[in-house]
Symmetry: C2
DNA sequence: CGGTTGTTTGAACTGATTCAATCTGTGTGG
DNA sequence: CCACACAGATTGAATCAGTTCAAACAACCG
């Protein structure tokens, strides 16, 4: 978790630990790319990301759109809608599963949990809006740059000098609404412009503020 | 409000009426296209749409992206992020404004209000995800068709024979992530294919199920 | 009537997709 | 250690969906 954002995480919360004590739950380890929930299956469970990164996606024809990511400490709540979306691990992950009904009842009893969850929901909403602006208004370069900034920010918190990028170009395309081929060309172009350099999956930011500028990235929406 | 969706509206709620009694608030009438909140202003108020349609948008360069709509009975909550978005009336509207802090405190005391608001938040999240799939994966025709289906559904509820479209082509472009010129061409093409007919702002659906098919519209996400 | 807002149309252009081939890195079994 | 398989990255060429710019048209309103 990023420094300063811990208060958003369910993992550090005593209230949440108590909650788990009070209800049956199971912990699952997921391989990279392992699908946890197929699109269309009933959302009768809460999913808490204990470690790793999860993606929520919707299949569409041959392609896919990723609608949200969940990092460690974040939950996928059993909204009646979430059934429409599949859940898949981006990297090897660990999740906690609990029955939805019991979870909701218990949460309703704890004002601390409620506050925490509402915070998360509002932040997720803000991220979703930002992604919508990304896909709707920005060109391919800005979209990829924005994804890089956001990811670096969520992973790295303080330091934006470098990051280990855990996403394939295919997945970046699914997030930013384009093809993997184009993501590749954009990354190459960003490197040619000396905004980033790449060694394997490691990305070094050579000019963070310029990258933010072309991405029109302002991180306030991530602070919750 | 659509038949069967009343339970989602704050307007029909006794709890909400009581809430308003307990706190200072003011009611405002808005002309069509009137901007209620500029992007960037502090979100220290709750906004409840009493009548009409509000849009939440983000300016981006010369254009704009609409990230969400609020119909009568729906609220714009004072999430710390919402400052990033402007709020504008699509049609002549009426809103209730209340101070954020007091509102939150009072809501926290009523489990009925909490349930209602969480429902709304989840539904808004589902809609946002759907819009993301729209902008990220579907082509221009499907995007416009999807917008028409969604709007007809939210306005009309039961009957999908016709609807009065209150949006300009410019606004439809801002919602579906394209230019007004292209929205125009798509509408003309939908009409040519005899899926819809237009007289002024009235749209008649000639083949609702086919329209839903090309839009890949399934309304479950709107039921909350 | 003139002014304003919104719609329609055409022509040129371009950013991104598609398709297909090639290349690279990594892990596996012999 | 090499050979092979596989996932992912890279590149090129052709194509196309959607944008841009500009002009004309229609509807509405004071």
């Amino acid at each position: 978790m990023s420094p300063g954002l811990e208060y958003l995480s369910l993992l550090g919360s005593n209230a949440f630990a108590d909650l788990l004590d009070q209800m049956p739950h199971r912990v699952l380890k997921l391989d990279r790319r392992r699908i946890l929930r197929e699109p269309g299956s009933p959302p009768d469970e809460v999913i808490l990301a204990k470690a790793g990164i999860l993606s929520m996606f919707q299949a569409h024809g041959s392609g896919r759109q990723t609608v949200a990511l969940r990092y460690a400490g974040e939950a996928i709540l059993p909204g009646s809608d979430s059934a429409r979306y599949g859940v898949q691990a981006i990297v090897p992950s660990e999740v906690i599963l609990a029955e939805a009904g019991a979870f909701c009842q218990l949460v309703d009893g704890s004002s601390e949990m409620r506050r925490l969850l509402i915070r998360q929901m509002q932040r997720n909403e803000a991220i979703c809006y930002e992604w919508l602006v990304n896909c709707g208004r920005r060109d391919a370069t800005a979209r990829v740059a924005h994804f890089l900034c956001e990811t670096a920010f969520r992973l790295g918190g303080g330091t934006k000098a470098r990051m280990l990028n855990r996403f394939t170009q295919q997945q970046m395309g699914e997030i930013t609404g384009q093809t993997s081929v184009n993501v590749n060309r954009v990354l190459a172009e960003l490197e040619r412009q000396n905004l980033i350099t790449r060694k394997g999956r490691e990305i070094e930011f050579r000019d963070w503020s310029e990258l933010c500028r072309i991405a029109s990235f302002r991180p306030d929406y991530l602070r919750a």
